[in-house]
Each structure stands twice: as C-alpha cells, then as structure tokens.
C-alpha cells in the first residue's frame, strides 16, 4: 500500500518560506485511510520567549516600538515590532491584558514554568500540573508516530522556576526539551538502517527487556526508603512509558518514516546564529506537522534567567549589542525601547516565517495553518512583570476561530480561558483548564 514518494527535492523545501505548497492528501499517503476515518487533523503549537517586550508609553517618542498594536478590535494597526505579520493579519489575533492569576505574585523570573500550566507555586513546595500541549497530545497524539515534540534553545528540564521546557506531564513532571536540530531530525525522520523484520525483532526484544526490567525494579523499590522510592517512581514511570512507546512503534513498523532530505533544514545551526537556529526549530515543527508525525509541539526560545539561558546572547549575535536580559532591563533608559523593540521585531519576523510556511501549505481545501493553533508569547509584559502577557493566537480559521482582531482583556480574565477556548476549538471536550472561569467568546467566529 505504501506509495513511494520523496520530499527530497531539495529546491522544494530548503530554507525558503515561499516553497511550493505540497497538497496534503496527494503527496503524502501514509495513514491516508485513517485520515479519512477520523477527519482532518487538528494541531497546536506554543512558542514562548522570556523577559517580556518593549512597552514605551503611547506619547513616547519611540511609541512605534511598543509590542502591542494601536487601536482595537478589527481596527488596529501593527507597530514596527509586529509589522512582518501584516500579511497574516486575518489568520491571527493579538491579545493584551491576559495573565495567569497564580503567576502574578510569583517571582519576576519564576513564571516560565507555568506559561502552559497555570499552576501555583505559592505557599507550598514546587508542584506543577499538566501543560496544555500534553493535554492536547493525550487526545490528538494517539494518531501520530509521536504524541508531541518538546523543543527549547537550552534543552533539558532546567530547574524549578527556571524550567527550560514548556511541557509538563500529567503528574506535573517536566518533560526534557531537545535543543539540537540534528537530534530532533534524527528522532523524527532518521531512517532505520535495518529491515522491518530486524526492527520488529529489536522492538520485541526491547519489550521483553522492559518487562524484566520492570519486575526487577519493583523488587528493588521495596528495599528503598520512602524518599528514595518517590524518586525511583520517576524511573518506573519512564520504563512504563517506553513500553507504551514500543507498542506504538510496533504499530508504525510497516509505515516508513517520511523521507525528508536532511539538507532541507539547517541541522547544524546553533544558538550563536539565532536567525538560522530559530528557523531550523520552526522548520522542524513545520515538517512534523506537514508529515503528520506529531500534532502537538512546544518551543521555549529561552528561559527566564539571564545568567543561565543560552538565549541571553541572541541580541548580540544578530548585531544588536547587549544581552537579552540587559536589553529588557534597560528598556526604560534612553533609546532602550528601540533597542529591545528591534529584538522583539526580529523574533516576530522569525515567527512570521513559521506562520507563512504553515499558511502556504495546502491541506484539503484550506491550509495547514487553518487547522493549527499557534500560541506565541511571554509570561512577562515588561521584565519581571507577570501581568499583561504579550500574546498572539494564530491559525485555526478552519476550526471556528475568528481572527484579524486585537483584543484587550482585564485582569479578571485568567489566561486559562484562552486555553479552554483552544481546547474546544480542537474539539477536545473540556469545560475548564487550571483556574479558568470560561472561554474567550470574542474568538468565536
């Protein structure tokens, strides 16, 4: 049944936002029938950046570098910062005033961890809860080879309140993010050098191994003290979750991984070339969606600790001078709004690149973007301020969302209401998420 096809026509994909659109159902055939059964996929992506944005007052000489548009509702105008998104204006909504109420009294650097969870760390030890993408993955992730992918520029999980990942499991445990484009590519598209039979045998052996390992580990657990047992449960959970993955892989054995030309993505891009690197990360998410390898993705551009995040040097690496945290702190200084605003603009341009790729790829009678919800923003407005998050929700025109707006909310509306709105648009049954109080009906078409 497997049709032979190749995406590796380099010119088609390489680094070009204007690459030819690949009609979904025609060019990709795996899982084709399943698609027809379950309808077209719905997808989500969340992109986070730290330290907030440039917010000069309206009467300031550099007001044109305020991140938020001017005007409101349908009548709004982008400032310098987001102007690269103008062609996508009807595919997105800018939101102001939202924040997680639990985050408002947390440390100014502490809120990256809860951007997608809305949890509270106040008054007790650090316990997080499930992140939006993982909830989404538990519903839509069963149909793809990978339930979700988790990326960040720093990689790993970081430390409590300085997470380097946006994704948290149903137990609230951080899910390690991958930072190397090459590693992400190898996981998603790396071709097995063995035959299907050999691969099946390997998976079966892995299955036997994990069974025995689980038995052995359970008996080891009994010998441990209580504290150690709690820690050890992370290991047991991991073994179980690989077991599930092995089961899943067995189902996917017959279906070859999509054959993507590795030269179509800048796999050796590193954070000292931020433009190339950020685009490579976006390219990987794009390819994951386009090949329906996964339907839930997160990318944390940087974490909220200037002293430890690799993203701190991004502005300097693109010739803007200075460190990101420093620019954010210096926003109030003379010309400071421009300095930070130019960097905000740079980030928005990369985001526009990503959205454009999604929007230029056809899917059924719409585009990939029409059925993908992309959340973009920060948990700081200005540095250390955990309110009025700068947020964009893009995509989902095909999922009943209304766009082309600039919406202003008051602090009585928790950001989780946006999450519930997203979940419902994706047809995931949910009345609430974290501390939500309703939905954002302004986004309903």
């Amino acid at each position: 049944m497997k049709k032979s096809w190749h995406l590796s026509r380099r010119t088609l994909l390489r680094g070009s936002a204007a690459s030819l659109a690949l009609p979904w159902l025609e060019s990709m055939s795996w899982g084709n029938e399943k698609q027809a059964e379950a309808g077209l996929p719905t997808r989500m992506c969340a992109v986070y950046f730290p330290f907030g944005v440039s917010l000069p007052p309206a009467n300031h000489e550099h007001a044109g570098w305020n991140w938020f548009p001017t005007g409101s509702g349908k009548e709004f105008e982008f400032t310098n910062t987001l102007k690269s998104l103008e062609p996508l204006r009807n595919q997105m909504t800018v939101l102001s005033g939202l924040s997680h109420p639990n985050g408002r009294s947390m440390g100014g650097h502490d809120t990256g961890d809860i951007f997608l969870t809305g949890a509270s760390f106040k008054g007790r030890s650090y316990v997080n809860s499930i992140s939006l993408d993982q909830l989404v993955a538990s519903h839509v992730g069963t149909k793809t080879r990978f339930p979700s992918i988790t990326l960040s520029s720093d990689g790993g999980v970081g430390e409590p309140t300085r997470a380097t990942t946006l994704s948290f499991s149903s137990q609230g445990r951080p899910i390690p993010a991958l930072a190397s484009p090459r590693q992400v590519f190898a996981r998603m598209f790396g071709q097995e050098d063995s035959s299907v039979d050999a691969a099946r045998q390997r998976l079966e052996q892995t299955g036997s191994m994990l069974d025995l390992l689980l038995d052995h580990s359970r008996s080891l657990r009994r010998k441990l003290g209580k504290l150690d047992q709690n820690k050890f449960d992370e290991y047991l959970d991991s073994v179980r979750s690989i077991e599930q993955k092995v089961d899943r892989s067995q189902k996917w054995l017959e279906i070859a991984k999509p054959d993507i030309d590795p030269n179509s993505v800048a796999l050796d891009a590193s954070p000292d070339g931020p433009r190339e690197y950020i685009r490579a990360m976006y390219d990987l998410i794009y390819l994951a969606y386009q090949t329906d390898s996964t339907r839930a993705a997160t990318y944390m551009l940087g974490q909220v600790a200037g002293a430890t995040t690799v993203a701190n040097t991004f502005p300097a690496c693109i010739g803007l001078g200075g460190n990101w945290h420093g620019l954010a702190h210096g926003a109030g200084k003379k010309d400071g709004f421009v300095a930070l605003g130019r960097f905000d603009q740079f980030l928005a341009e990369q985001f526009a690149y990503f959205l454009t790729r999604l929007h230029e790829t056809k899917e059924a009678d719409g585009t990939l973007l029409d059925r993908t919800l992309v959340l973009y923003g920060s948990s700081n407005s200005r540095t250390h301020q955990n309110r009025n998050y700068p947020l964009i929700l893009a995509g989902g025109n095909g999922l009943g969302l209304k766009h082309g707006q600039y919406l202003n909310f008051s602090e009585s509306t928790p950001m989780s209401n946006l999450f519930v709105t997203m979940l419902q648009a994706m047809n995931i049954p949910s009345d609430s998420f974290a501390d939500s109080t309703g939905v954002l009906s302004e986004l309903h078409a």
């Binding site: 947390m106 650097h109 502490d110 008054g123 990689g155 025995l212 290991y235 959970d237 250390h384």
Partner: protein, 794 residues
C-alpha cells in the same frame, strides 16, 4: 512557644549565613513586628475594617502555615510595589518599612528551606551526564562520546549538578540510555576477523580551490590564513584513528608558540563539514611529532558515492583568532606576516583503525575465554558474573543474575549470534537502576552505616566522578576500607591520581558558576579586540588555579588573594602580565602592580558578572555573597518597579550614582544596602576583567563618555573599603572564618550530592574548625569530609 524557640535556635545557627538577617536575629513577631503593623496597617486591615478582605491583627507570624505564608507574600508584594500604605495615609517610617520587609523576606526564605528539607538524607542519586560518561568509559574501556544525546542537567539551589533530589528521570532519557548502551556494546563486543588497517602519509598539501577562494590558500607553511590539506582516499568507517603531524615552527623573537589545529572533514557542494580532532602548540624550531587520536565515526565522512571522494585532514595555525570567513572590502595580504609565528608541516601520517590486539582488550575483558564444557547459558552466566559487579559497583547474588539470564535465554533463541544476545543482555544491565543510580537501600527511620561498597562508590563519585577502580573495589571486598588508616591512605592516593582533575573541573565550574562567561555577550563596540577564545581560557584559568592550590597543598586562603596566577599566553597578554609562551597554563608569580591575585580578579568571575559592556556591581556582589560567603541575598521580589523613564534620565549617571538612586527607594533599600557595597569595590575592573581608572560609556551614536572610577564603599558593619585590594584584605582579616565555613558547606554539599540542612550544622562547624587548624588545606578538608559521619552513613 516551641515554634519561637525553634526559630530562635535556627537564627543562632544561621549567624554566619545571615546577610540581611543580621538585624533580624532577635526579631520577635509580637514585640518587633506587630507594633509596626498596629501603627501603620490595622486602621484599614484590623478589627474595624478589612479593606481588600485583609485582616492583619489576627494574622499569625508563623509562615510554616502555608495559608499564612501566602497572605504574607501578598503583603510583601504590596510593600515592594510601594502601594501600601496608600498615599492617603501617613507614610511608614523608613526603618519600620525596612524591618518589616526584612522580616517577611527572611521568614519566607526560612520556611522555603524547611519545605525543601529531606531530613538530612541523600535522595537516590542518578549518575549525571558527566558521571555517566566517565562510568561508561571506565566500565567498557572505550573512549566514546556516551553523553551526546542526553539532555543537560538541572542545577540544585546551591548550584550543583549532582544533587539526587534535583536530578530527574524521563522516558526520553531512558530511551537514550538504551540507545547509547546498544551502540556502545556493538563496538565493544566485536565479531569477525581483524579489520584492515589503512595507512597514509604525505608531505604535499592537496589543493582545494574552494578553500583557496576564501583567501585561505593551501600550503605547507601555515600562517593564520593558509591551511594544509591531506586527502585520504582509503580509511576505515569505524574505530580509533591516529593522525601524526611532523612539523616545526618559525617563531619571531618575543612571540609565543604557534598552535596547530587538526580537523577531519569532507568536501561537498554546499557546506563542507569538518570537526576538530585536536590542538597542540608547536614549541620548537626543531622537527617534532604531534599526535592526535579520535573515533572516526564521530567525524563527518564522505557518503557512499560522493562527488568529492576522500577524507580531508585539515591542519591550521590558530595562533590568532580565526579571521571571519567574509571580510568585506578587506583583502587579506597575500604574503605572510613576518611578525607572526609560522608552522611548517613536514608531513602528515594517517593510520586506522588502531588495533593493538584482536580481539581488543575491551572485548576480552567482558568476553572472558570460553571453556569447552560451558553451554551458551553457562558462558553467558560467567560473563554476567564478572560484568555485573563492576556495573552495579557491588557484589551480586542470584536475584541480580536471574532477570539477566532470563533475558539472555529469550533473546538468544532468535539472535543471529551468541554475541548479539550478549550485547542485548548487557544493554539491559546498563539501563538497570542499579547501574544508573547510586542505590543505597535503607529506610528513613533508622540511619545506618554505609557498607564498604557503598562507601567506595561515594568516594569515587566525589573524587573522580566515576566508578571505583580495581584497587578501591579490592579494598571494599577485603572489608578493610572503613578502617580509619586504610580509608585515609586510600583517599589521599585518590587525591593524588590524575583523575582528580574531574573533581576540579566539576566542583570549580559549579561552585563558582564559571559557565556564566558563555551567557554574556561581549559588545564589540566596547571591546573590538576581544578574542572570544578568552572565555574558555578564563574558565580554564580558574580551574587551573584551584587545581594548583589543591595539588600543591597551598592554603585555601589563596582563593581570596594570592601572589601567583595560572595563565597561558593569551590570558597573560589580555591581563598585560608577563607570562608563558604557550597555550598550556603555567604558574606565574605576580607583583603588586599586576593588580591580580585570588579568584576575585579572575576573568571568569569578572566577565560572567558583567553586562558585556560594563561592570555589574550588583551581580558581582551577589556572586561574592553567594559563592564565597554562602550568604545569598533573596531574589528580587515580584513586580520590581522599573525606574520610570519619564523621571530624570539615568543615562548620565555612573553606576554608583544609579545604585544610589535605587537605594533611595525604601522598598529597594532594605535589600540593596546589604548587597551593593560588596560590588562597588570591583569597579576598577571592567566587563572583560581589565584594570581601569575611568569608566567608559559609548552612546548609540558612538560618542565616548569617560568618568572616573569610584570604588569606595561602606560595608555592612561600617567598615570602609576602597578598591578590590582593600576588600580582599578585609575578607582575609575579618571574614576568613566565614569564607572557610562557606567553602566547607559547598564542598560538603557537593560530596554528599544533596543540599545541607540544619542537622548538618554540627558537622559543618567541626569540619570548619579542622579546616582552619590545617592551614586551610583543601586536600585535608576533602579527606575530613570522607571521614565525616554524614558521608559514611545512609
């Protein structure tokens, strides 16, 4: 009452750690805090009125109650924002404000530490990336990159990456452990005949028009633009290879040794990927041989049917920072610069794979010779009986062997060969918790002494970041390791082993947060000549400095101030101190005019706590308080108000003046008066660690503004210091015991792999006294830690 007593006791024990607590020691909620609240707050938040639903007169002062703590947290936020008392009410007196904010902050920090408490027990420790890498290499005897796919490790609140409570596990990690184990075992356990060895030698550089286009012509004479290219047509695709370069140097007077870099790569249409194999100084004008080794599969290799066949060996002279590939408008001079050192390549040799014996030793160590009478299962059991104790770092019993043999039986039926089945079985060993974790069975109710094997592992992971070696295993087996004399002798022998370098690397990097240099971008508008390679040199400097003190048994007080430095050529030139000619670090004696000595004047410390343009006195102060005095100030509160841009511009003010503005805000002052004075004496050192008398600021239009350095500060307690030398003297005269205790605390936390708690205080005090009596010798401290009760018990 019990709680108050407890708080009192706690505060006494915390004396040395207290920074803002200094005046919080005797704070009593009823006597000291409630009157402030009564005078300023109860009118609106008391019995009569409860504005915003907040009632303070009945609010407890015990923040162990999480609901109470949350309310106080909100109060603190309002106070920090300057929202309370509101403008309609009389303002709170400055010292009342300071005391109230200080009390809430201290209590919050204290209860947070209690919450994090694990009752003074080590939580099951997973091997971190570095330990995993070393353990795999020592266990399997093959030098591969085992950790390349593993995510970076989290850092504990005290800065370490070996803290059991912090180190997590996830499916992704376990998946990579399994993949790594399988890939490694495929290399360790070999099958088939001895592989063909390829040998190649040339004295001619191969021309590469592509590289020549970039003004990097190929040549046997290497200046900073040319390179030598050897094209190897026949090479292995797996295994260890060796490149030998026969070369000599031409060194003009007063120049350093040129540095040879050797890379392996391929040529392709688009990018030509390559990876560095190694570097070495060419130290003589006489012919010499420089040898580099690596695993060829870790390098870019030509694809099956390449357009440009062959593996390239690329040799360069990297004496100067490699010039950017594209220089606009500026053509590199065609002739070599006679003032620069030159490397002359006489010839280049390639050999691989290196096979000293077949099968290799790493294979035979696992695959013991098979006796005829053994069935396959018996053979597998013999292999496991030898491998398991080393992998688990303890003797094994039937219960350990059973699941492994079980797996072997299952996979052996379908495997193509016995070796395949063994590989899979051993892979399971390498993802078992007994291998991945330092397992110490027990229960919380009762402390117990470690057994000899557990102690051996704690020692080897503390000192070597790896598994015990044969000698240590042997001592554990003999049951003698815990005999005091044996233990001390072994500890000292381990300290003298070259593997102690791993401890130096890990401990100094994490204790002093040296990786911070990579998070700061040096602004080229301020420092156009800054060589990015200096960042790595700076980290290396601090490590070499610590290693010198440790291995030469010098006083640990050298960390505060010293009359020597550890420098290489680049760094000595950067600091403008006469120094070595090579890239290796050497001891350099200092004089007063060098204005160097101790950690505080080292580039890694100064640069990582700067903005990349200018010094950052607060960051430097926080670093000093946290890392050297173990008194970290509390983090900035939520919603720190930014200085209003509409107010007087801060741009024209010096750092010290800006800080003064900051401190004038009452909410800022309560913390900053205890922080800033520790950072201001550093002001004579700029962002990249160079001495300065004037502060230089460059405006966006390129205008340079100069103002004199002000390095004068009044420390908490009233001591006046000007400049870093005086601050160092103050630390040596008045704070040496506090420093000693801080070092003891950090070292103990690292050795144990957990954060310290109240219950450790007596150990810390005892170790500190010993450390001071032993002239602050770090090796003695490390031995004393190994001998201490917390290190030897579970």
């Amino acid at each position: 009452m019990r709680i108050l007593l407890f708080i009192g006791l706690f505060c006494c024990l915390m004396v040395s750690r207290a920074y803002a607590q200094q005046d919080q020691l005797s704070v009593d909620y009823g006597k000291d805090i409630q009157p402030i609240l009564s005078q300023n707050c109860y009118r609106c938040h008391g019995k009569e009125k409860q504005e915003a639903d907040l009632r303070l007169d009945t609010l407890s002062g015990d923040l162990n109650d999480s609901a109470v703590a949350e309310t106080w947290h909100d109060v603190l936020t309002r106070l920090n924002l300057g929202e309370m008392p509101p403008e309609s009410e009389p303002p709170m007196q400055a010292d009342q404000h300071r005391r109230l904010v200080g009390w809430v902050t201290t209590e919050m920090k204290r209860t947070e530490e209690l919450r994090r408490s694990n009752g003074g027990r080590i939580v099951l420790r997973r091997l971190n990336r570095f330990e995993y890498q070393n353990t795999m290499r020592d266990l399997l005897g093959l030098d591969l990159d085992y950790a390349k796919d593993l995510p970076p490790e989290p850092t504990s609140p005290d800065g370490f990456q070996n803290n059991g409570a912090t180190l997590g596990m996830s499916a992704l990690q376990l998946e990579y452990y399994l993949k790594t184990a399988r890939e490694a075992l495929a290399k360790v356990i070999v099958t088939g005949p001895r592989p063909q060895v390829f040998h190649f030698e040339t004295d001619q550089t191969s021309d590469d028009s592509k590289r020549s286009k970039q003004n990097k012509g190929s040549s046997n004479r290497l200046d900073d633009k040319s390179s030598f290219l050897a094209r190897v047509m026949e090479f292995p695709r797996e295994g260890e290879i060796r490149v030998r370069v026969h070369a000599h140097a031409i060194i003009p007077p007063n120049e350093g040794f040129p540095r040879l870099q050797v890379a392996l790569g391929v040529r392709s249409d688009t990018v030509s990927p390559e990876k560095v194999l190694g570097e070495a100084d060419v130290t003589s004008t006489e012919p010499q041989v420089l040898e580099f080794r690596g695993r060829i599969e870790e390098f870019p290799l030509p694809s099956a049917n390449p357009k440009f066949p062959g593996l390239l060996i690329i040799a360069r002279n990297i004496y100067n920072e490699p010039a950017p590939m594209k220089r606009k408008g500026k053509k590199a001079p065609a002739k070599e610069d006679p003032s620069q050192p030159i490397i002359v390549i006489d010839s280049v040799e390639f050999e691989g794979p290196l096979v000293e014996s077949w099968p290799p030793e790493s294979h035979t160590r696992i695959m013991v010779p098979r006796e005829r009478r053994w069935s396959e299962s018996q053979y597998a059991e013999e292999i496991l009986k030898r491998f398991l104790p080393r992998a688990y770092r303890r003797p094994v019993d039937q219960a350990d062997l059973a699941p492994m043999l079980d797996l072997f039986q299952k996979v052996n039926l379908r495997s193509q060969s016995f070796e395949d089945a063994i590989r899979d079985t051993l892979a399971m060993v390498l993802v078992s918790p007994d291998f991945l974790y330092l397992v110490e069975p027990g229960n919380e109710k009762q402390r117990r002494k470690l057994n000899d094997f557990e102690l051996a592992s704690r020692m080897s992971y503390f000192l070597w970041s790896s598994m015990p070696d044969e000698k240590l295993f042997h001592l554990a087996e003999s049951g003698k390791l815990r005999e005091p004399k044996v233990l001390e002798a072994r500890a000292r022998a381990m300290l003298a082993d070259p593997k102690i370098e791993r401890f130096v690397q890990q401990f100094t990097d994490q204790w002093l947060n040296l990786s911070g240099v990579d998070r700061v971008a040096v602004n080229p508008e301020y420092y156009p000549d800054f060589d990015e390679r200096l960042k790595a040199d700076m980290r290396e400097e601090t490590k070499a400095f610590f290693a010198e003190i440790l291995t030469q048994d010098l006083s640990g007080l050298n960390l505060i101030d010293s009359d020597f430095a550890m420098l290489n050529r680049r760094l000595a030139e950067h600091y403008q101190v006469p120094g070595p000619r090579g890239t290796e670090f050497e001891r350099v004696e200092l004089n007063l005019m060098d204005r160097r000595g101790g950690l505080l004047t080292q580039g890694a410390v100064l640069l990582s706590n700067s903005t990349g343009e200018d010094s950052h006195p607060i960051r430097r102060a926080v670093w000093l308080l946290d890392r050297l005095l173990d008194s970290p100030p509390p983090p900035p509160p939520p919603d720190v108000p930014e200085l209003n841009p509409e107010e007087a511009s801060l741009a024209g003010l010096s750092v010290k003046q800006q800080l003064e503005v900051h401190r004038k805000k009452e909410s800022c002052n309560s913390c900053h008066q205890g922080i800033d004075p520790w950072g201001i004496p550093f002001e004579n050192y700029d962002a990249i660690g160079l001495w300065r008398e004037e502060v230089r600021r460059v405006s966006r239009k390129g205008k340079v503004n100069l103002s004199p350095v002000v390095a004068h500060a009044t420390l908490p307690g009233g001591k006046q210091v000007t400049g870093l030398k005086e601050l160092k003297n103050h630390l040596l005269e008045n704070e040496r015991e506090r420093f000693a205790k801080a070092l003891v605390r950090r070292m103990l936390a690292y050795a144990l792999g957990r954060s310290l708690e109240l219950t450790d205080e007596s150990t810390v005090t005892q170790l500190t006294e010993q450390f001071i009596q032993h002239d602050y010798r770090i090796s003695d401290l490390m031995v004393a830690i190994i001998q201490s009760e917390p290190f030897q018990s579970k």
